[in-house]
């Protein structure tokens, strides 16, 4: 075989050691799921509960995706909770005028973008630190929310809006056994695509002369990812089918994973966060990159506002309170560095799920918010401690 030359010789243990850091978040998530499975007698792994975890955390996960970009660029956004409330309230008002769901969604994203432009302008071009600008934004948009809602909830004219959060995608009558047919079909397609693209990429790398891992590790990776997909989708299928927010989340994640890894703007975000002065001298328009990042954050706040309004089935003036803290914590649990330049979308999502699974598990056990705070805080500290410690040990930090 001519490809032999490209295949790295590495033992399983060596490989595991090399990737332990990268995998540690997933391992942590898995362990936490297991711990709660024991503590709740498996209730947290039921189809209904797995679906709920996605629905209950979707709006935080969407925010975490934007927040990690902001953190990578070396900034922070404290205003996201208030912006969620503001855009959520506006979306409810827009929907109640009867313009329909899709126009409401698009307009809300636009409102989010406009807020991003506003805050991004002060941060990127005027040079006011993001911490201060968004602290102002946090108060400003909370105030505006109170003004436009008269400090009372806005209820929605019908149940159409709710579907975004609690609805599911299924074709009526299409079932396989007692399961939802569409979920099963999507699951099969997803696994097939995963196998196909992984193998194709491997072949491409070999033909380009890059070194690759032995086939058995590729198979191991594909197998574990497939197992994960099958697990989640079987849960969906056994309950009501794929939740609509699941699709929304998937699209958002896919877009931003691609953006960070494969586009010029994505690499620019990492470069500016890694060393703004050097990035500038490399010919990167850092101000513009910072500006764009905050616009992206704004758009995702708009989306999160819509999802949250749908989830609550009304727009609340105090909505989104402390969302910024959950979103920021998700990023750090997911391996982002406070000094900027380091972080991933998948990390932020995993971090958000870690928090979500803890919240959910403790609620199932009827443990109150008081202890939930204590446990979440401990997890945050521990996760970041592990990250820093392992980074230092492997000479990265």
């Amino acid at each position: 075989m001519p490809e032999n030359a490209n295949i790295e010789q590495i033992s399983f243990l060596g490989l595991a050691k090399q990737n332990l850091r990268k995998l540690s978040m997933f391992i942590m998530l898995g362990l936490i799921l297991l711990v709660f499975a024991v503590l709740t007698n498996g209730v947290n792994l039921t189809p209904r509960n797995i679906t709920n975890i996605f629905i209950q955390n979707s709006y935080i996960l969407i925010l975490a995706v934007g927040m990690v970009l902001v953190i990578i660029i070396g900034n922070i956004d404290l205003s996201v909770g208030s912006v969620v409330a503001f855009s959520g309230a506006l979306s409810a008002m827009l929907y109640n005028t009867g313009i329909g769901l899709i126009p409401t969604l698009l307009l809300s994203l636009l409102i989010g973008a406009a807020i991003g432009v506003f805050q991004g302008f002060w941060i990127a071009f005027v040079g006011i630190p993001a911490f201060i600008t968004t602290l102002a934004g946090m108060l400003f948009f909370r105030g505006l929310t109170y003004i436009i809602t008269n400090v009372s909830p806005i209820s929605l004219r019908d149940d159409g809006f709710k579907k975004i959060a609690s609805g599911s995608l299924n074709i009526p009558g299409f079932t396989i056994g007692s399961m939802d047919g569409l979920s099963i079909v999507v699951m099969v397609i997803a696994v097939v695509l995963l196998v196909f693209f992984t193998l194709r990429q491997r072949r491409k790398q070999i033909s380009n002369g890059f070194s690759v891992l032995p086939l058995r590790y590729t198979i191991l990776k594909v197998a574990s990812l497939s197992a994960l997909i099958i697990f989640v989708f079987l849960r969906f299928a056994a309950y009501r089918g794929i939740p609509t927010v699941g699709l929304v989340l998937f699209i958002v994640t896919a877009i931003f994973v691609f953006l960070t890894n494969n586009t010029v703007i994505g690499r620019y975000i990492y470069a500016v966060g890694g060393n703004a002065k050097s990035a500038k001298l490399s010919g990167i328009n850092s101000e513009q990159v910072v500006f764009i990042t905050h616009i992206i954050m704004g758009v995702l706040c708009g989306l999160s506002g819509v999802v949250f309004t749908a989830y609550m089935n009304s727009a609340l003036p105090q909505a989104g309170n402390q969302f910024e803290l959950d979103a920021i914590a998700s990023c750090y649990i997911g391996g982002a560095a406070a000094s900027g330049g380091i972080g991933t979308i998948i990390g932020a999502i995993t971090g958000g799920l870690v928090m979500g699974v803890i919240n959910n598990g403790m609620s199932l056990m009827n443990i109150g918010a008081d202890w939930q705070y204590v446990v979440k805080a401990s997890i945050l500290l521990l996760a970041v401690f592990y990250d820093i410690w392992s980074r230092r040990k492997s000479g990265l930090g």
Partner: protein, 509 residues
């Protein structure tokens, strides 16, 4: 113990980093009271060896034995080694920029009375130290306001304030000009007279030969040779051969000038200090460069050469820049560095750590960062192309790294410099401005870099070099501009340039 011949003995030292063996059973001995120079190519392991000796790398991180003053060391950090009388002055200065001279000197070991810092005693004690290192600034001066050369003297004062018996200098002269370098070498000779042992790492072989009592050569983590110069002299050729493993006939490649018309011209360029707006840093500077020409800018530190280049390069320095830039006979302006790069001007900063590289990113990313628009289609990156380009420059500049995914912070100083150069070369500029391109680079790699510059001008491009090494400027360039105090003092042709004339022009006229 004090009658021991060797103050420091390193035996069978091995140090591995992930993917690299930086030191491979190295033996290294330093006699009491001598000046011992350590030489070797970039990435040979010199800094690593000194980091082991001085406790920057703690005992648990290497294999082998280090014996200092007859005792095996067991340092956990530089704090321990300093207490033992061993101080290191790093390749990159480590002063706290906003503190004053005397605060920096006593940082970490302040004089205290009842647990309260006694600043007056610190201040008083700093005078004799400053006198010893020959620094005339008042001790209250904030260090970031001083030149690199003077900051280094502060660092040295800090080291001797702890009664060092062994001082280690990692490339102390790499960011000094010739005069400052000479002063520093004299200071080291002075220390020797006082009985302090010094180890110096340097890529400048003439200064090594001028001060060394002994020389040790490292190559690829191995100690390949040790010379005792008090017994028999060594030639520069011998050292180079030991370092690179082959003969190197010339230090400068031959250049056949093929010079065309003026392509880049700057007229009446004036820049003010970024904070003190009425202070002129560059004053009415005018110069031009022709197609296929290499020009150099010489002058003492603080002459305004870097500031001139950076402000031209898209207003990257200073306040209220005025003047004209003409590119290919058209008047142009560069709003920002991006603009300048797009119009075909490239700039490589002298300060690779804070202005050149992104230390937490890998080699491949750093090399490609300036050229992403070219390496992508509709904003989507062509990752194979990125890899291939990075690989190409790693090969052609011989960047020593285990892989393209290595973080640049883990590369040796010289190899970091090659990464910065690669980044600008990949952006393919017509007018290439390089600020101290060979700072901290070994002789072999210097030759490579000169060859690359020569190749560029052969392709009809133009190169502007800011250099503090006069020998380099004279051998490489077609014309030399001499600057001092923000003004261009004159220009010399290749044929008429000598070190004396350049110095004379800078200081007297």
């Amino acid at each position: 113990m004090s009658n021991d011949e060797y103050i420091l003995e390193v035996k069978n030292l091995t140090k591995d980093f992930p993917g690299v063996r930086a030191l491979d059973s190295v033996d290294f001995k330093v006699r009491r009271g001598e000046i011992h120079c350590l030489v070797g190519e970039n990435g040979a392991g010199k800094s690593t060896l000194m980091n082991v000796v001085s406790g920057v790398l703690p005992r648990s991180e290497y294999e082998g034995v280090v014996v200092f003053k007859g005792k095996e060391t067991n340092y956990r950090s530089t704090r321990d080694s300093e207490q033992d009388g061993l101080s290191i002055i790093h390749q990159e200065l480590t002063l706290s920029p906003y503190l004053s001279i005397y605060e920096n000197i006593f940082l970490g070991h302040m004089k205290t009375r009842f647990g309260i810092i006694d600043w007056d005693t610190c201040l008083k004690d700093s005078y004799p130290l400053l006198k010893r290192v020959g620094l005339r600034e008042p001790p209250q001066t904030i260090v970031s306001k001083m030149s690199v050369g003077k900051q280094q003297l502060v660092e040295i004062a800090r080291a001797i304030s702890r009664n060092a018996e062994l001082l280690i200098f990692d490339e102390p002269t790499s960011s000094l000009n010739d005069e400052e370098s000479e002063n520093l070498l004299n200071l080291i000779r002075e220390f020797k007279k006082e009985g302090i042992t010094c180890i110096m790492i340097s890529h400048k072989l003439d200064e090594v030969l001028a001060v060394a009592d002994s020389i040790t050569i490292l190559r690829d983590g191995l100690s390949v040779a040790s010379y005792d110069l008090t017994k028999a002299p060594v030639s520069q050729q011998q050292i180079i051969k030991g370092m690179v493993g082959r003969e190197l006939k010339n230090l400068f490649p031959k250049k056949e000038p093929d010079i065309g018309d003026v392509v880049f011209e700057v007229k009446g360029w004036t820049v003010h200090h970024p904070d003190y707006h009425d202070m002129k840093i560059v004053d009415d500077a005018s110069f031009f460069v022709r197609k296929g020409e290499i020009i150099s800018f010489c002058g003492p530190m603080g002459a305004g050469r870097t500031e001139l280049m950076m402000s031209i390069f898209g207003n990257s320095y200073g306040y209220g820049a005025s003047g004209e830039i003409h590119l290919h006979n058209k008047r142009v302006t560069f709003k920002n560095p991006k603009d300048a790069i797009e119009q075909g001007v490239g700039y490589v900063s002298e300060d690779r750590k804070s202005l050149g590289l992104i230390l937490i990113q890998d080699v491949k990313t750093n090399i490609t960062n300036s050229s992403l628009p070219k390496l992508s289609k509709r904003g989507i990156l062509n990752k194979n192309l990125m890899r291939n380009k990075a690989e190409e420059y790693k090969e052609s500049l011989q960047i020593k790294t285990p892989s393209l995914e290595q973080l640049v912070r883990n590369l040796s100083g010289g190899n970091q410099q090659k990464v910065v150069l690669s980044r600008s070369l990949l952006a393919d500029p017509d007018i290439f401005i390089v600020d101290e391109p060979t700072r901290g680079i070994d002789v072999g790699a210097k030759y490579e870099i000169y060859s690359i510059l020569n190749d560029m001008v052969k392709q009809g491009k133009s190169v502007i070099v800011v250099s503090s090494e006069l020998a380099e400027a004279i051998s490489m360039s077609d014309r030399i501009y001499v600057m001092n105090e923000g003004k261009i003092k004159g220009v010399l042709d290749r044929s008429e340039a000598t070190q004396e004339r350049i110095m004379h022009m800078a200081l007297v006229d």
